[in-house]
Amino acid sequence: MQIVPADFDRMFGALADPTRRDIVRRAIGGDEGILELAGHYPMSFAAVQKHVAILERAGLITKDRIGRRKVVRANVEGLRIVRRLLDQYEELWRSRIGRMAELLAEEAPGAQKGIER
């Protein structure tokens, strides 16, 4: 399985901000629109709207229409991916190290070819 690093970056970037993390937290099972969300933070509506847009682009939240209202909800699939990132990073490096070991094993028979640097 391969996840395009650009997507990782976008998710990491989106979660880099404490306000955005808090929005995600509230959006889990939440029932608030942007206007209500904005009430929680000492910043303008426009600023909160911007944070929400970044989270939406990163696939971490969605805006769902419920009747006349638009509700900000966490995208569970997106959150799950984030949750797995750390483990995947470990996996990534484990496999890289595995390939390193294979490469070194190829060199092994005649070992100590002494490559100067």
Partner: protein, 170 residues
């Protein structure tokens, strides 16, 4: 196994792996220094990396792209070589150069590599990964500890399991 230890540090916000190889420090060093060797381990076989530049000296820069089943990926990766002490230590900043507008992209991450000879002619390599975005990594780690969030995700997991749509992805 090759990997002997993994450490995730929520204070330093790093992922550190220790690996031991049946090889000399110079051989391990060359896995990083030689672009043809580097290409054979940096990307997975399904997404091999091609280094178009690899100026492996302090202040040097490397660039690579990866090739997936559908051709080259649209992003370009880069390394900025911050510090080298052959064959003992390597400090690299690595990141992505994106085509699109990079407004919400985090800063680059870092790799600190230490290569040390150990008993029996073996070599220990320690890779310290500094995350592309440290606050984000903290968030990841915190997710496992914050009951509220963990619980909520657990609940949602259960709900999703009920009406699981046949995952059409991939």
């Amino acid at each position: 196994m090759t990997v002997t230890a993994v450490h995730k540090d929520s204070e330093k916000l790093t992922l550190t792996l220790d690996a031991e190889f049946d090889a000399s420090p110079e051989q391990v060093w060359n896995l990083w220094a030689d672009p043809r060797k580097l290409e054979r381990w940096w990307g997975p076989p399904s997404y091999p990396a091609t280094f178009t530049a690899h100026d492996f000296r302090v202040g040097g820069r490397s660039e690579y792209y990866m090739t997936g089943p559908e051709g080259p990926t649209p992003f370009l990766g880069y390394w900025q070589i911050l510090d080298l002490d052959p064959p003992r230590s390597i400090r690299i900043e690595d990141g992505f150069v994106t085509d699109g507008s990079p407004n919400d992209l985090p800063g680059p991450g870092g790799m600190n590599v230490t290569i040390l000879p150990i008993d029996g002619g073996r070599t220990r390599m320690t890779i310290e990964n500094v995350f592309p975005d440290q606050a984000a990594m903290e968030q990841l780690l915190a997710m496992g500890q914050e009951e509220g969030l963990t619980q909520a995700i657990g609940q949602i997991d259960a709900i999703l399991a009920e009406d699981a749509t046949p995952a059409g992805a991939r």
